[in-house]
């Protein structure tokens, strides 16, 4: 008597067990969900450096200098003789100048850094490719 095997090795189709992949995929998914809100993305500004002490004179002939300072407890930006209080107006003023030139952001002592970084960002937003941070004591 000859017995026939129900399923021969030859007829067996190759199978890929997807369970492990699905497990790992869900692990990754949960990982990203839990960490997404925990870490905020960090961006960067790229200013050049300069240490030259510039002239104290402020005239309308120096439109590419942005002074970041605090006067009478009020933080402000100054281009030539014009004063700007916020980022939007500063960006607009810089855009009206010549963005192909470089701009010097002269940051005086006694201001908080966030306010100075805003001036650098405004210059980049206005289209200046070369922005130089000038420490101004």
């Amino acid at each position: 008597m000859r017995f026939r095997r129900v399923s021969s090795e030859r007829d067996r189709k190759p199978e890929i067990n997807l369970a492990a992949m699905i497990d790992a995929t869900f692990l990754l998914l949960s990982y990203f969900i839990f960490t997404q809100s925990a870490s905020s993305r960090e961006a960067q500004l790229d200013p050049n450096l300069a240490t030259q002490r510039g002239s104290e004179r402020r005239t309308d002939l120096e439109p590419q200098n942005v002074d970041v300072l605090e006067e009478g407890g009020v933080r402000l930006y100054r281009i030539g003789g014009a004063t700007y209080m916020d980022k939007a107006s500063l960006t607009e003023a810089l855009r009206a100048l010549n963005p192909e030139d470089s701009v010097f952001v002269r940051v005086r002592d006694g201001v908080d850094f966030g306010f100075a970084a805003t001036a650098v960002q405004a210059a980049h937003d206005a289209g200046y490719t070369s922005v130089t941070y000038v420490p101004f004591h």
Partner: protein, 142 residues
Amino acid sequence: MRFATRNNSFRSAVVDMTPLIDIVFQLLIFFLVTGQAAQQARTEMALPKEPGQEVRTNEQAGVVLNVLADGSIVVNEHVVSLDRIGELVAEAAAKTEGGVTKLRPLVRADREARTDLINDVLERLSQAGIIAVRVATEGGAK
């Protein structure tokens, strides 16, 4: 009675992919978690809320200077003085191809930090031969 013998020559080759996938994903998770841990090892501070800019350069940071709101400067989780900045730059430049001109130190300064100290830090960097820095901001902010 005659029994059929097993014929291995007709047996199709089955490659079990499960361990391979397991290992690949475990490695992926490992690198993601360790990368995240490295990110969190950065000194916590309130960076300026600015969107930053897209800059693609081949310069290296070399040194990451954290300037905190209380006036301390932290490098590699150690508080350092202003006088150490020149040495740190020199050490980083020695490890960098192209030297100090290829270094773009990352300055992570708290938005509440006073510019008195940051101006001093930037002057020290400039005196050490650094021609440009990167200023970290809280990305995504408008």
